[in-house]
Symmetry: C2
Subunit: 343 residues, 2 copies
DNA sequence: TACCGTTACGAAATCGATTTCGTCCATTCG
DNA sequence: CGAATGGACGAAATCGATTTCGTAACGGTA
């Protein structure tokens, strides 16, 4: 069995309190005693019991990551997010506990709060706005510091960390305009409300700034619930009487799918059609041609989320942490100047 | 503050012990009392304190995942592994705690053991054999159940879960032979000792079974420490007086790199050269041509590792858990019959 | 009626720390 | 010299559960 504080105090002939105070730098301990205690602790390899300490201190030095999302497919976003969060937490002597099976199950989240096994919670992928507010209220009632990720939540009291998707869509659109495109198609995904709104407003903003008229027929709302959802948008746009010279897809996988559909259809990319994705997944770099996209750094989002949560824990959640991180345009080979000058 | 067992017992006018026994189904409690207690617990939303329970029960219902590896690049292996492990753990009412910053730091691992904040440990990516044995001894001394992943460790007492890499390389080689290839090049990576050994022996075995002479000049040992390591093997093989008709790369990224080198060099794949990777990363599915590879299921490995660790915890680690999981050949478009019949 | 066994419950110990508070002793000051 | 001050330490309470063990009450039997 591991060495306890009692073993240490017996060996040294001092009280448990003195040992505790010596090791934690609190209370009055003479320099000599302190030295003896630390020395003996090292020798015996004493390590305080996490459970006992947590019980007494009423904090666990652990934070929870609740993946509030059915993990359909593997994403490199998660692969970058999780280790980054864990690493940042560890720098602050915290650890990360994963909770993957409580999507939408509020009672399980309540149990988690009441059992006090974490000091704060990061909720990855908040649900729809209304539900998020309910969740926030519940967590606030339970006095559990929490932060949402990676979507912004339009509510003053709610903490979140998200990427600047308006900027992302704007950068992409501006880039295509600078290449000479005038008919730029845009895929929306209303399911992810704020993200969709931001992206669309970035797109519209770039068009407006360039004096290009917003054309409703060039904007489609995808429905990710549909089976062949990732082929529909492409087919829709190409079937238009006057097809666009460039398409901005909502996600990289859709854009990648379009790449192969175009190949099958004999449409050369980027010569005859420019295609762009969004997210900067690893796969987007190895397609032929490599995909132009926008990258949000999952690592940076995760790191900031952890840091913000630690602040909430330290400040007792006095004021909400709200952060929007810049994104990066990755211009690659799937986009080029349009053949006919974009007319 | 959360409801404690004392609050419950006060409200009901029974003792704490009775409440505890009622909720945990131990000891003698009359059906009537039990009903009253469960009812009140539900009403008040009582949830036992994790710290108090851990302290008394001497177990935490948590397992640790120690990523004993510098996470160089994002890998979809991790993205699939971690959620899978967390989910399987949760089915058994355990949770997963991540430790990403203790690669090679044995004292930190010892602290983790002694603080008893986890009931068992999964070590992702064991170090070299000798160090792994040392680690195993240390963990055994600390009476900490543990299992290594995703590499086998050739030692009877050590628990691990790994993929069958001998089978993987054999399947790939057999497949190429069945296509008509006779000169099949093979890239080794001595750095990952057992994995490399298994893969190479699967390759050699397939050749032998087909009566093809093992040609040393077709086998190269890569050095992943070198900067341009992923281009070297390809260049080496293509510079041979009599180049191979097919190349088996050690990893998908190397094979993908070879795909673009071949394009640059005007070598058509698969018509003039067959290329295969290994691991089945997501990217391998979107290259042009799509990459033939072997997939090991990170999800299955992780799930089995957790299940095995839970057995070790339950059995007090009586006998080592050693599991080798089958892999899956993914024949895709980067391999085909050789132009000249493979002569 | 006296005795015994069973049932249902509670008092108290326990897990291993932290923290509060009181005490002892040596100085220092008036 | 007596009282006040403060440094160093320990006894005991505390955190919130679980578990052991003792006992009251009850019913059945000799």
């Amino acid at each position: 069995m591991p060495v306890t504080i009692e073993d240490l105090s017996n060996k040294l002939g001092v009280s448990r309190s003195t040992v505790s105070k010596a090791l934690n730098d609190r209370g009055d301990v003479s320099p000599r005693t302190k030295e003896r205690v630390t020395q003996a602790a090292r020798e015996l390899g004493y390590q305080p019991s996490a459970a006992a300490r947590s019980l007494r201190r009423q904090r666990t030095e652990k934070i929870g990551l609740v993946v509030n999302y059915p993990i359909r497919r593997v994403s490199d976003f998660l692969a970058e997010l999780i280790p980054s969060m864990a690493t940042v937490a560890e720098e602050a002597e915290y650890n990360l506990i994963l909770y993957t099976s409580m999507a939408g199950q509020t009672e399980r989240l309540i149990s988690l709060c009441r059992s006090r096994e974490v000091d704060g919670i990061i909720i990855a992928w908040p649900p729809q706005f209304h539900e998020t507010v309910v969740l926030h209220r519940m967590l606030t009632d339970e006095r559990m510091p929490h932060i949402f990720l990676p979507r912004r939540v339009p509510h003053d009291d709610i903490s979140y960390v998200a990427a600047d998707h308006q900027q992302g869509a704007r950068l992409l659109t501006e880039y295509l305009i600078s290449l000479g495109h005038g008919r730029i198609a845009f895929e929306r995904l209303p399911e992810v409300y704020e993200t969709d709104y931001d992206r669309h407003s970035g797109y519209a903003q770039a068009l407006r700034a360039a004096g290009i008229k917003y054309d409703e027929s060039l904007v489609i709302s995808a429905d990710s619930a549909a089976a062949d959802y990732d082929t529909k948008s492409f087919q829709h746009f190409m079937a238009l009487p006057d097809p666009p010279s460039a398409i901005l897809f909502f996600t990289d996988p859709s854009a990648i799918r379009a790449l192969s559909l175009a190949r099958e259809g004999g449409i050369r990319i980027p010569q005859e059609l420019s295609v762009a994705g969004y997210d900067g997944v690893l796969s987007s770099g190895v397609t032929e041609p490599a995909l132009t996209t926008v990258r949000q750094s999952a690592g940076a989002l995760g790191a900031l989320a952890v840091e913000s949560l630690l602040k909430l824990i330290a400040n007792d959640g006095l004021e909400a942490q709200q952060h929007i991180l810049p994104v990066e345009l990755l211009p690659r080979k799937s986009t080029a100047a349009p053949a006919n000058g974009g007319a």
